[in-house]
Amino acid sequence: MGTRDDEYDYLFKVVLIGDSGVGKSNLLSRFTRNEFNLESKSTIGVEFATRSIVVDNKTIKAQIWDTAGQERYRAITSAYYRGAVGALLVYDIAKHLTYENVERWLRELRDHADQNIVIMLVGNKSDLRHLRAVPTDEAKTFAERNGLSFIETSALDSTNVETAFQNILTEIYRIVSQKQIRDPPEGDVIRPSNVEPIDVKPTVTSEVRKQCCQ
């Protein structure tokens, strides 16, 4: 927060997707402004916010696109998947249907996003313990099977919100920085070798700072 726009080493575009009402906008406002609104207006189309974090002494700036959850908006919102290197796929742990729809969202990503996009499954509203409809283990198993990271968060009481963003940004950073060292990117720890490397160029608007200036 408060980092000037030109002072960063990496710029990563991340999208927030998932069913309507699962708390995407509140995750974003909790992460970027440390705010939460119990009732926040529905997102129309997409909304944009940003925050920088530091990993390995490198400043990583996250450009986060919050999207509308209603199916009708998919045609519009999927345009924003282009150039995204990360996606937080959010469901509501108290509403099983939003978890069931995770597969549909994954298919959206497969159809519209870069195939190397790093995806994190996020079970939000973990504060609603008494209303839990999706067991943690079930979601965790599902995530593992599909090669996704997984975390449960609560935008309301802040649990794990910071960690979720930190983790996905760090994961993206590791992949990107390893790619810079190794060329060609064989033995990629995350992805099989028959896929193209993550292309971060569309979102990087300034050159990576010279290493000697660290």
Binding site: S20, N37, S42, I44, R72, A75, I76, T205
Partner: protein
């Protein structure tokens, strides 16, 4: 979940999506748009410019300062605006006569060329003064709050900028309602009321005259009736109005019984209701009126029944916000113009009156949405088309701004989608939206085309601030959080005046929406 991959819950993805494309048809609709543009000649526009020179002897500096960003030629714009906000002729008959003589295709160009000669300068002065008072008050308040530490020459800019930044932190992406009621109640001058009365009480409504008059804002006392008439909900014949109202209200009541209180809903209907049920409680989160169960249930019924009856689009997030102005206007009518609505207890209103508000809101929003249905069909093609038109328009009007946005990677869809989808309701305080809708409802050829020019004028209004932002982030944050929280009705008058000017200037140009390079 994975085991289900091939069957079960994927089935919902092949279910019929309301309005799934019949692309040809949609494109045809859109191609037809923009063709019906005004054909008024530029000669009459010049006449207009000359004819209103004298109206601008006062307060120009003040207003120019306030609206300095709006136009390359602010004088012209403000002239137009004052003319709009002061259609206060002594004799209402005169208007009708004047308009009957005109055969131009654009009702608004009629305003331009003819009304001027009738302008009542005294009233113009009054209006402007009252607006100024409000704005001055606001400025004082603002300065008091912000206390700039150094007031150098770039002071004003930096104050604005500071408050902007502050605002990003407090309400990012979500402009808040301040008050429902505009502070400009006193604008409803007696002469204006008289003119509206005369039109409304005629046996056969002169709809054209009503549109002319309402384009510059309807008086709050009569707004509910005016909106019913302008939206086409009420008939022009005075004696039929009551019977139509009665019948329509019963009709709505029956629709509720037929569609809402049913034993079971099919899957699509359940989806629709679920979405509405999620959206309604968070429409105006900090306004007590909207947190009341009775109010929320009313919105749910209105939206659900509208969605069921409009399968081509179904319910789309944002339509809920479009019901709000009608609801507020009809509620205000029932409780009286002086009542504060934000904290009003809806249950205090007798059920008969609540039913009237609900039925009238339903029929009016139905009429209102008829002209913009392609905004809400599958893939929202209507909006995508309009966003493209906006881009082409700005490219023509202000290439500097256009290039500035482009060079920083800002895509028009990223910010103007919401403007189009919600008709600026998310960008403006509610009372400004209501004032804006006076004009929309009064637009002779429907507001769908005019809205494009309003969006263009709205974007151009912020050009100076936008040009000062020199990165993508700054531009996007500004565009998503445009500081309209202090706007008054007078700002809307200027905005629609500028939109009118743009439409007048560019809609006639045959290639104005063609893609350039």
């Amino acid at each position: 979940m994975e085991q289900n991959h091939e069957n079960s819950f994927w089935k919902s993805s092949i279910k019929a999506v309301p309005g799934r494309p019949s692309p040809k048809k949609d494109i045809k609709i859109m191609n037809n748009r923009g063709k019906g543009a005004s054909t008024s000649s530029s000669a009459s526009f010049e006449n207009y410019q000359q004819s209103v020179n004298d109206a601008w002897t006062i307060s120009e500096d003040e207003l120019t300062k306030e609206y300095r960003i709006l136009s390359d030629d602010p004088k012209l714009l403000i002239r137009r605006s004052s003319q709009n906000s002061s259609r206060t002729h002594k004799n209402p008959q005169q208007i009708a006569v004047v308009h009957k003589t005109s055969s131009s295709t654009s009702a608004n160009s009629i305003n331009l060329t003819n009304n001027i000669t009738l302008s009542n300068t005294a009233n113009i002065n009054n209006n402007i003064e009252s607006n100024q008072t409000d704005e001055t008050n606001y400025r004082e308040e603002n300065e008091h709050q912000q206390k700039p530490s150094n007031s150098s020459s770039s002071n004003e800019r930096s104050i604005e900028y500071g408050s902007l930044r502050q605002r990003f932190n407090s309400y990012p992406g979500r402009p808040q309602l301040l008050k429902f009621s505009s502070m400009t109640l006193k604008d409803d001058a007696e002469s204006k009321l008289e003119k509206f009365s005369a039109i409304l009480e005629a046996d056969l409504l002169n709809l054209k005259a009503l549109k002319e008059l309402s384009w510059s804002g309807a008086p709050r006392k009569m707004r509910a009736v005016v909106w019913r008439l302008l939206s086409g909900y009420l008939p022009t014949s005075l004696e039929r109005r009551n019977s139509v109202l009665e019948r329509k209200r019963i009709d709505y009541h029956n629709l509720v019984k037929q569609y809402f209180y049913v034993e079971s809903r099919d899957e699509a209907q359940q989806d629709t209701f679920r979405q509405i049920h999620i959206d309604v409680p968070r429409m105006n989160p900090h306004v007590p009126l909207f947190q009341q169960k009775l109010v929320q249930e009313m919105f749910e019924r209105i939206l659900f029944i509208w969605a069921i009856r409009h399968p081509a689009s179904g319910y789309v997030q944002g339509i809920n916000d479009l019901v709000t102005p009608f609801f507020i206007v009809f509620l205000q009518e029932q409780v009286g113009v002086d009542k504060v609505l934000e904290t009003y207890r809806f249950e205090d209103l007798p059920i008969e009156q609540r039913n009237i508000i609900e039925a009238d809101s339903f029929w009016c929003i139905s009429k209102f949405l008829d002209s913009i249905q392609d905004n809400y069909i599958f893939a929202q093609l209507g909006i995508q088309e309009k966003v493209n038109q906006l881009k082409e328009l700005i490219q023509r009007i202000d290439v500097t701004l256009h290039k500035h946005l482009q060079s920083h990677g800002v895509d028009y869809l990223q910010f103007s989608f919401r403007w189009m989808n919600n008709l600026l309701t998310r960008e403006l305080p509610l009372y400004c939206t209501i004032r804006l809708w006076d004009t929309y409802l009064a637009e002779s050829d429907g507001f769908a085309v005019f809205q494009l020019y309003v969006c263009a004028a709205f974007l151009l209004h912020w050009r100076e601030q936008l040009l000062q932002e020199n990165d993508f982030q700054g531009l996007m944050l500004l565009l998503q959080n445009l500081p309209t929280h202090h706007w008054l009705d007078s700002h809307i008058s200027v905005l629609v005046a500028e939109a009118f000017r743009l439409k007048f200037t560019y809609a006639d140009a045959p290639k104005h929406l063609e893609v350039k390079s």
